[in-house]
Subunit: 464 residues, 2 copies
């Protein structure tokens, strides 16, 4: 028996856009990072904003909760579904509507894959700076809904900073179309800010206009080493000032990461010798490779003389640069050295990171079930990732580790999620970094925009 | 007879923090840009966040509408009051609480004047990039509440991009303290985004944590000229790519502005000859004056060869640079050449600006009551300011001119306010750039956060 409202959706959209019952399980037997087939009442495939509006109008009327599926690369359970929920799959809304070279903007439907956007704009010598590991699968709607971060936030900002226009469908089917190409707009409330980073709980993103940059002509990278965290901070200020606007990456690895990434089994040779506490990978994106390299080299010499850094290696070729970045980015190598891996993406004020990580490492070292752990991060943004390898996946052990990582953040003014969001997995820890008043205000917003709680129910906040 | 709730506020805060009746008029006989004494039931002077919370708790209970006063430099009537309203004056909340050199942040109460912040951080070789004409009076609370723009938005962003943490008191007195020093935080909704740019209608800002930058070591400026608007756009892309991250200003003047600013009466000599349609002032903020100058010079030569620009003048000294910038910034010179001046701060996609301004100029030329007009703007941000000189200040003429400027923006995807906000004056024109659905959603947010409509009532949206 098909439920009345699913039938209505079929009538509106056509049967080829609706999948029900066993067909859902057949199609979704294998989903990345999900170890079981998809469980949902139905999956619908809108191809227009009007389709999304029609679906939500019906779902709102019938109190039908929905979950939006993009590239399914979220790490906090934001796209998890249950048998009572309906999935809106955005894969048919994958049209690039316009690449405007004068305004340097691209208008895309929300199901377009991030990497497709990169490829499209690069043809025109432009750059969409948002870049992270899962970009080959992640769809731009999800990138926006989670306010993704990634590798170039220090220079270009989080996703929030890269969005000029947004089209969203509200819970009751209302289409909010704020599709402008302008950088400055103070005509009333900036509504798009509500939806960016709200993990699909306030509206369904259908289109976006993204701001593009000129593609930098040169990329220069270097590894440096230091033993005092104070120098990690001082050198950041020094190199930021010296590179004047071109610094785009400042990535920190603790020695145990650096060693794990460059041990003989990885086939990556180490650019600097072992024995330092901290290794920092810096990147400048400029306009003239030779001049930029000279500038970077003379800054590194100056920093060595001043003992801000203890050693430095400049990438001398494109291959070299790629190798340097694999040491930071190829997280699979670390994961392959872990069992039952548990990962984190906390943030805290830059000045506090050194002591915080030392303390966490000391505690982790004393727990027999933990056999290995790593830390690296976008340190200029105050963002640290931990990977923890452990003997089992018991709830007790997971909670214990969560508490070790999260508890100190409250006093330090940190966040339990710099990038990945709250979803389901981090809900119990939201109160570690947000006050009761803040959570209550979030709840009021949720109620104001989605009175029946049909949008991504129970994600971030508990359904009331 | 003092009203009961004003008495309660006096009891809570102490009589020295409350001004009533004739004393209000005495103290506020002269307010910048207001031609009459302040009209209000009372003025209160909180010195702590708790004071603000106490005031709002009482005002909420008694349905007492309030208006927040900062530096009173707003241009759209956002701080206008009437005899039924209570003014919360923030001047006593003027403490800089912390300058954190490691995290490169400054924590300030909302009554701190913008220029004071500049002076404080410059001592430490740091920069708070928000900069505009009224910075000697404007308070940071107002800067944030209006999401101010200014001269360096292209590189550093609007105020929204410069705020890490915010403390706000809601209409009912609830304190929302999101005072974090972190750049990345995806733990639930980013509540501060609601208050930034909402012109005091959703909450009263009491404190903020601002992100600072290293102060650039060198500043290089140049004037260039062109006749085709297409080249204004192409040269922007060219110079943005060539200056790779250091381009921080790209300001356009139409010839009539350039002439008005450099005619003999102004004592500013013209850096380029007359006769071109467009004059662009560019600025790069870098780390090495000589190298940056060389780079800029060779880029200008290349652009001249390619006929992207027709003439160029590089500032050769600090004095020179200041003079160049006076041509753009010293708006008083233009105002002194205007009668009954009416000004605008629209934005639209960069590619549309040339045709749009031509059209507007043609229409303005045909109206006998208009004796002069100017246009200049932050063209890289799509933001154009008009100054219009006219024979009288009749409502009919003002409306007529508003319609000339605003009507084309609807079709072009522009905004009636890039920077200044809506306040009271632009309320009738909000619908020119925001849909009914958007305005309805703004109204829902207002109701959700301020159910009794006591915060800056009738600003942006009509009280319901």
């Amino acid at each position: 028996m098909i439920e009345e409202h699913i039938k209505q959706i079929e009538q509106k959209l056509g049967v080829n856009k609706v999948l029900i019952g066993e067909k859902v399980k057949e199609r979704y037997e294998h989903i990345w990072e999900m170890d079981k087939p998809l469980c949902a009442k139905a999956v619908v495939f809108p191809s227009t904003t009007q389709d999304v509006s029609d679906i939500l109008t019906i779902c709102h009327k019938y109190h039908q909760p929905i979950v939006v599926h993009g590239g399914l690369t979220n790490l906090t359970g934001s796209t998890e579904t249950n048998a009572d929920e309906l999935v809106i799959c955005m894969e048919k809304m994958n049209v690039i509507e316009e690449l405007d070279l004068s305004s340097r903007t691209i208008t895309v439907q929300s199901g377009v894959v991030l990497e497709t956007i990169h490829q499209e704009v690069e043809k025109e010598n432009l750059l969409f700076p948002m870049s992270f590991g899962a970009q080959g699968s992640a769809q731009i709607g999800g990138v926006i809904a989670t306010n993704a971060g990634g590798l170039r936030v220090f220079r270009y900002g989080m996703t929030r900073n890269l969005i000029l226009g947004l089209e969203v469908v509200l819970a009751d089917g209302t289409i909010i179309s704020s599709l402008k190409k302008i950088i400055k707009d103070n005509s009333g409330y900036d509504l798009k800010q509500l939806f960016i980073g709200s993990e699909g709980t306030l509206g369904v993103i259908t289109k976006a206009i993204l701001r593009l940059q000129q593609k930098p002509k040169s990329r220069n990278s270097a590894f440096v080493a230091m033993n005092d965290f104070e120098n990690v901070v001082s050198f950041l200020k020094f190199i930021d000032e010296g590179l004047a606007g071109t610094l785009s990456g400042y990535e920190l690895l603790w020695e145990r990461n650096f060693k794990a990434m460059t041990n003989p089994s990885t086939n990556i040779s180490k650019p600097l010798s072992y024995g330092y506490k901290y290794y920092v990978l810096i990147e400048s994106l400029g306009s003239n490779h030779e001049q930029d390299q000279q500038r970077l080299e003379s800054l590194l010499e100056e920093a060595l003389m001043a003992k801000l850094i203890l050693d430095a290696a400049l990438a001398q070729s494109v291959q070299h640069t790629e190798l340097f970045w694999r040491i930071r980015e190829d997280v699979d190598i670390l994961v392959s050295q872990c069992n039952n891996v548990q990962n984190f993406d906390v943030s805290l004020p830059v000045s506090e990171i050194g002591t915080y990580v030392d303390t966490v490492f000391n505690i982790l070292n004393k727990i027999p079930e933990i056999d290995n752990f790593f830390a690296h991060g976008h340190v200029a943004d105050g963002n640290i990732h931990f990977l923890i390898s452990k003997s089992n996946n018991s709830t007790e052990l997971i909670d214990k580790i969560n508490n070790i990582i999260y508890t100190p953040l409250t006093g330090l003014g940190g966040s339990v999620s710099a990038e990945h969001g709250i979803g389901i997995h981090k809900k119990p820890y939201l109160k570690f970094c947000r006050s009761n008043e803040e959570i209550k205000l979030m709840q009021s917003l949720k109620t104001a925009l989605d009175s029946r709680g049909i949008l991504n129910r129970d994600k971030i906040l508990n359904h009331q």
